[in-house]
């Protein structure tokens, strides 16, 4: 299982971070951490999720 934003999700093994983002996080500006490490957009296609991985995707916004 892969943990995304603190929740375990099935069916994400072997998917790239880019695929997960395209599927679930259409918001334009995001802050992504992969196993606790901040990753840049150019890394998204190369990073393939595996059992036990943790992904955090935070929408960046500051409006009030």
């Amino acid at each position: 299982m892969i943990t995304v934003n603190g929740r375990t999700m099935a069916g994400l093994e072997q998917k790239s971070i880019e695929e997960v983002i395209l599927l679930h996080y259409p918001y334009a500006k995001i802050y992504v951490k992969y196993n606790g490490r901040h990753v840049e957009p150019e890394e998204y296609p190369q990073l393939i999720l595996a059992q036990g991985d943790q992904l955090q995707v935070i929408h960046l916004m500051a409006g009030g």
């Binding site: 934003n5 603190g6 929740r7 679930h24 259409p26 918001y27 334009a28 500006k29 802050y31 901040h38 955090q56 935070i58 929408h59 960046l60 916004m61 500051a62 409006g63 009030g64």
Partner: protein, 225 residues
């Protein structure tokens, strides 16, 4: 009688306690207008409303306190006038200034909770630092288009550093803000404020509630506090 419809949600004792609390609201725009309104209608005893901005036409689509008749007036002054008409028991003070590193401690000292309704990142970090020094919980909220997030930040937790990449850079907001997003996020912030003040229920301490209202995606993201 004024609070009778609150009394099934909050006990009589809790309703009474609300009058003893002092809450600061930093920003009197989209989020802030709703926060001020709800805090006053709940009967929070003392409110300090802080904003150096004045109303302009682009505020009318969403900012509760804005009206065609008050363009150019200080948002914090307008807030005081409105709340005095709604609940004259509330002691409300207008501070028509922008919060900055020089005035943050003086403006926020002695409050029980600070509600973050700002629209830029730098002052949000200033509020977090001041709240940490002063030992005050801060309820952070931010919005963009269909999206919103809320976090409850206790002194020392420094969640903003977990939510925003460091070094901090200001964000633009090409999505704008429709009326329902600040109303939604402010409601969550007010519920958090009540739970922090009354020590009830589960709060968003150490977590970020991230909401996508377009796709109805609601996530509570654990953050390293």
């Amino acid at each position: 009688m004024r609070y009778s419809r609150n009394e099934s949600t909050l006990s009589a004792e809790e309703n009474l306690r609300l009058r003893s609390f002092k809450v600061a609201i930093v920003g009197c725009g989209g989020l802030g207008g709703y926060l001020i309104e709800m805090a006053a209608r709940l009967g929070i005893g003392t409110l300090t409303v802080i904003d150096g901005d004045v109303f302009n036409l682009s505020n009318l689509n969403r900012q509760l306190l804005s009206e065609e008749s008050n363009m150019g007036l200080y948002k914090s002054h307008v807030a005081v006038e409105r709340i005095r008409r709604i609940n004259s028991d509330v002691k409300i003070t207008s501070v028509p200034l922008y919060l900055d590193v020089n005035n943050a401690d003086a403006l926020l000292r002695d409050h029980d909770v600070v509600l973050d309704a700002l629209d830029a990142l730098r002052p949000r970090f200033i509020v977090q630092q001041a709240c940490e020094r002063l030992g005050i919980p801060m309820i952070h909220g931010a919005i963009a288009g269909w999206y919103a997030h809320v976090a409850t930040i206790y002194p020392g937790d420094r969640l903003l550093e977990q939510i925003y990449p460091q070094p901090m850079q200001e964000l633009d907001n090409p999505l704008g803000n429709p009326a329902f997003t600040p109303a939604f996020a402010a409601s969550i912030q007010i519920a958090e404020m009540l739970k922090v003040l009354l020590e009830r229920g589960d709060t968003l301490k150490g977590q970020l509630l991230q909401v996508d209202l377009l796709m109805h995606r609601y996530e509570t993201i654990p953050l390293k506090a």
